[in-house]
Every structure is written in C-alpha cells, then in structure tokens.
C-alpha cells in the first residue's frame, strides 16, 4: 500500500512538473522575442497558351502567349511579451511574357516593343495571432509594375474564433490603386491619343473590396469555409489597345462602363477520408453588374500513401454567361454605347485538369534537412471557344 501511495505521489509530481509552467528567465524570454526564420518558398511556373480570338485584333487573330514566372518568398516569426505570434512575409515575383497579340497593337510592324514585357511584383504582409483571445490581425501592401501598368495594393484583415474555437469569422478590406498608360492601336492614335516619345497619356483604375469568411470545423476529419466578396472597380476599365470592328467594318476602341460591381460567393471543403485520402472541393457563384455570371466547381482528391508523399489529380469546371457588352467580330453597331470583342468576357465553358505531386521527407529532400518539401504540378486548360493552354509549376520549400 505504501508503495502504491508513493508511486501515485511520484506520478502526480511528475504530471505537475510536465504541465506546470516555470517562469521563463529573462534570457529565454529574450530568445522567444527574437525574429526567427520560419520558411522560404521558391515558385516557378511556365505557362503557354494559344487561341484565335484576340481582343487586340477585334476578336480574331492569334492569342499565342508564353509566361515564365518566378517568385521568392520568406517568412519570419517572433513572439512578443504577451505571447502573441507575429509573422512577416516578404515576396518578390518576376514574370517575363511574350505575347503575339500584343505585338499587333501596331499591325504593320513585324515585331514591336509590345511583343514581350517583364512584370515585377513585391509584397509585404504582417499577421499577429493572439491565441489566448482567438484573434488574428493582419495588414499588407503590394505593388506590381510592367511597362504600361502600375498597381499599388493594400489590405487589412481581422479574424475571430468562436467561443468553442470550432469556427472563425474573418473580414478583409482591400484596395488596388492602378495607373495605366493609354497605348492605343497605331491607326487610332489621333489628337491627344498620340504619345510624345515614351510619354503616353495615363488613366486610373481603382478597386475597393471587402471579403467575408467563416470557417467551421465539422469534426476531426472535416472542415468547411464560406466566403463572400463585395468588390467595386472604378475608372478606366476597358483596355486601350483592344479593337472592336463594327458591322460596317469601321474600327473603334473598346468601350466599357467606368464602374463594375462584382459579387462572388463560394464554399470550400476539405475532408480526410480514412488515413490516405483527402478530398478537397470548391464551388463558386459569381455575378456582376455587367451581366456576367459564372459557376466554378473544382475537385481535388489528394492520395497520401505515406505522410511524406502525395499525388493529387484535379479537375475544375467553369461555365460563364457573357457580359451584355460582348459581341464577336463585326457584330456591334453604332447603336451600342458599350462594346467589346474580348472573348474572356464571352459565353463559354472551360475545363482545367492535371495532377500534382508533393514530397516532404522528414530528413529533407535528398537528405538535406533544410529542403523541406518539393511540389510539382501540371495542368491543361481548354475553353469551348478554342483557347488552350498548359502550365507547369514547381515549388521548393526551405525550412
């Protein structure tokens, strides 16, 4: 009996020792507050497309395009005096694209400066997680620059967990303040549309948006997220080098309203079925005041033979009803106030399918501890109006 009592006492003291928190000394508290490296990601993609409905040539002509995209991001974290976790994300992206249709801004040139361009887009984000209160705050800024376009973005967000920590409400407010150079098709450059050297007339395009989300854990294998956005765009929403040919064969600049209200709503779900299969699903309904509406459904089963290796085939179906301002080549008339022959705004159905592969061995890729994970992904896209594209992406995670 004495032995049992002593054993229980020893066990109790042991449990106490494990669960009681000793007051951190000033040195360890200092170390907690130091900014530490969490992870870095390198993402590279190669995208290639072809079609025959370029808006630059009025809804006919080549849409051949390639894009080589690279981005590097780094995440640093620190814990403050109140044990709140701060995360700092910095990212730099560089895209280089070639576009056969952009080359047709000047129809007479064999190859113009518009044929290729480079886009640079840095961003900075900060997030603070207060686990005690179930609160997350965040803010961020981004920029994007290419020859004829500059965009500055900013956002703030807050999320609050429910009392039982099974759900989380989130709100994000964001804005993009853009400026674009008005590069018109060569034959339509008259009066004030004529550039002085590289000095093109400018126009503004602003986006103001709010995003609402609610995440819910249903059980230990299943969670869902419901999202709704309200987005208002104002300013020059056409593209200056998009031609529109009327039924009388006269050529005009694309004309679209200077305001657009977008209302997308979506539901996303992830379900861990058994021990080796995750089912990811997504559905979105979109509508805007240009009369464009769309349904998006995507499914992605993730097969995980081991915890460190996964294969994920995916399929995405998208069905769009055209904006009321769209008509094909030579279908618009002078009676129309707004007009476009941009097939991205036409009625179509698209299919996007492919597969991904992820390797994340516990002792690193090729035994190098810092190479945490390697992902490869390929997708093929086909649109019912004959646009086709392929994309291959690689993501390397360094820890």
């Amino acid at each position: 009996m004495k032995k049992i009592t002593l054993s229980i006492l020893a066990l109790y003291i042991g449990v106490l020792a494990v669960f009681s928190q000793s007051k951190p000394n000033s040195d360890s508290a200092y170390r907690q507050r130091k900014l530490t490296f969490a992870e870095a990601n390198i993402v590279s993609s190669y995208y290639s497309q072809d079609g025959n409905n370029s808006a630059i040539t009025g809804g006919i002509g080549t849409e051949k395009l390639t894009d080589f995209s690279n981005s590097f991001s780094i995440k640093l974290t620190r814990v403050d005096k109140k044990w709140r976790k701060h995360s700092f994300d910095a990212e730099l992206g560089i895209d280089n694209y070639t576009s056969a249709s952009s080359d047709r801004i000047d129809m007479k040139a064999n190859s113009s400066a518009s044929y290729n361009d480079t886009r640079i887009y840095p961003s900075l984000n900060w997030t603070m997680e207060d686990d005690k209160k179930g609160l997350t705050w965040g803010a961020g800024a981004s920029a994007s620059r290419e020859f004829d376009y500059f965009s500055f973005g900013s956002q703030v967000n807050v999320a609050k967990k429910t009392k039982n920590r099974m759900g989380e409400f989130g709100i994000k407010l964001f804005t993009y303040l853009d400026n674009l150079k008005l590069i018109y098709p060569v034959e339509l450059r008259t009066g004030s549309f004529i550039p002085r050297g590289e000095d093109y007339p400018m126009a503004a395009r602003n986006t103001f948006g709010s995003s609402f989300s609610y995440n819910q854990i249903i059980n230990a294998q299943f969670q869902i997220s419901i999202l709704a956005d309200v987005i208002l765009q104002q300013g020059y929403l056409s593209l200056p080098f998009h031609r529109v040919y009327f039924s009388d064969n006269s050529v005009h600049l694309e004309q679209l309203p200077d305001s657009r209200l977008k209302l997308p709503i979506s539901i996303r779900a992830s379900y861990f079925a058994g021990d080796h299969l995750i089912l990811r699903g997504y559905y979105r309904y979109y509508r805007d005041d240009w009369g464009l509406s769309a349904h998006t459904i995507s499914l992605e089963p993730v097969i995980k033979p081991t915890a460190f290796f996964s294969v994920s085939p995916f399929y995405r179906l998208y069905a769009q009803q055209a904006t009321r301002y769209f008509a094909p080549f030579q279908q618009h008339t002078a009676a129309n106030t707004y007009y476009t022959s941009n097939y991205d705004l036409a009625t179509f159905t698209s299919h996007f399918y492919g597969a991904g592969l992820r390797i994340a061995p516990p002792n690193g890729i090729l035994g190098w501890q810092h190479l945490g994970a390697l992902e490869l992904r390929y997708g093929h896209y086909s649109r019912s109006n004959n646009l086709m594209s392929d994309i291959v992406s690689v993501n390397l995670t360094i820890k």
Partner: protein, 86 residues
Amino acid sequence: MQNQFLPFQLPKKVAASLALLLVASLGCLSISSCSTVKEYQKNKLNDSEMVLSNRKIEKTELSFLSYREGASGANAGKSGGGCGCN
C-alpha cells in the same frame, strides 16, 4: 437541372448531391457546434493539404485563370490589381 447560365445539363443526382452538401453545411453552421474537436484530435485537420485556402504552387494558375475568365474573387484568384491584358 437546367440552368440558364450552364450551357450543359447537370445530372439530377449530381445536382441533388451538391444541393444536399450545401444544405448540410449551412445546417451544420446554424448549430452552435457540430462536434467539439480537442487540440490533440486535430492532427488530420492540421495536415498541410487540408488547408482551406489556395496553395503557393497554384499562384500562377489562379493568376492566368483570373485573366482568361470574367469571374474572380471569393478565394479563387485575385479580384483586382495588375493589367490582365496579355
């Protein structure tokens, strides 16, 4: 189910399953909690592939989809900023 926005006919069973999933999800939300999951039971929920957002490798995909399609936002592609002209 014939929909004026869908240029194809969705099989009745698929449409019913989707509707059921949506109703079940919304019904679940209306209850204060579906079942309480303790922190130590969240190992599957915390799996990196269970994430309820887009992954880094999808970045360029989402970018081109938002250019090539009229719809955007609600966690599937950016909803503003950048040209989209190429």
